[in-house]
């Protein structure tokens, strides 16, 4: 059955960052729709951010394209050049290896809901823009930019 049973998709809350970097994303929920449907080439996640919540630490990917489409609420897209408001029906694309970190922040008073799509490349390295943290798909760990571990 290709139709995905949303009620059966696990809801993952929060991000796996080391503290205190996990705090702004603590209220974030993710439903892995593509995984639920057996897809391997790319991920499609249904995301919800409560008021005040962040999508992630601001980051960019070395080897993975990313795309977001807003379904409900308001999200502020933050990147090097500044801020852009995204409303339902708005979308944004983040080509790999841009060096320009992005994240979404919910400064509204209602939950914001969006889809995120990303490719899957074993060589990918995620680099954070504003903090000393990176993560390689090879092991999925969040470490300092010199490669040393967070305690």
């Amino acid at each position: 059955m290709p139709k995905i049973d949303l009620a059966a998709v696990p809801v993952r809350e929060g991000a796996g960052y080391p503290p205190p970097f996990d705090a702004p994303c603590a209220g974030r929920t993710r439903r892995r729709l593509g995984n639920a449907g057996g897809l391997g080439d790319f991920g499609v996640n249904l995301m919800t951010l409560p008021p005040g919540g962040w999508s992630s630490q601001r980051h960019w990917h070395s080897h993975e394209d990313e795309f977001v489409y807003v379904l409900a609420g308001e999200l502020v897209l933050v990147e090097d050049a500044g801020e852009t408001m995204l409303r339902p029906g708005d979308c944004a694309a983040f080509p790999k290896n841009s060096g320009d970190g992005h994240h979404l922040v919910n400064r509204g008073t209602a939950d914001a809901v969006y889809l995120e799509v990303g490719s899957r490349q074993p060589d990918d390295l995620t680099t954070c823009s504003d903090i000393d943290m990176m993560s390689a798909n090879a092991d999925g760990r969040f470490v300092h930019k010199d490669g040393t571990a967070y305690d």
Copy 2:
């Protein structure tokens, strides 16, 4: 600017199938959002089907995963096992090489709008379920299943 200017995205109407197979898809429109945002790993298209319209001929992909998310209207998903109604917020996934063809049919009275996401693999072969037609990404031509051309 990662935000995509929807008003600037070209609107492509209809499918490139040889007649008469193009007729049910003649009113379909496609906006290539991922292309507009400079993405290469996967495509994200904003699709509109008028009442009576089909997404495509019923088909499956050998090497590409596919995913749809309904934004407005009602769509009937048709596959080997039968029909499933999809409404706004519903989604469906089509893993590569299933051998089970799918398409979406708008039997409602209003336009149906959905997102389609697909990976990009040069080796992909699209095989139609109900008609004698296939297409390889290698050349993008729609041909008979024995490889001969349509006139």
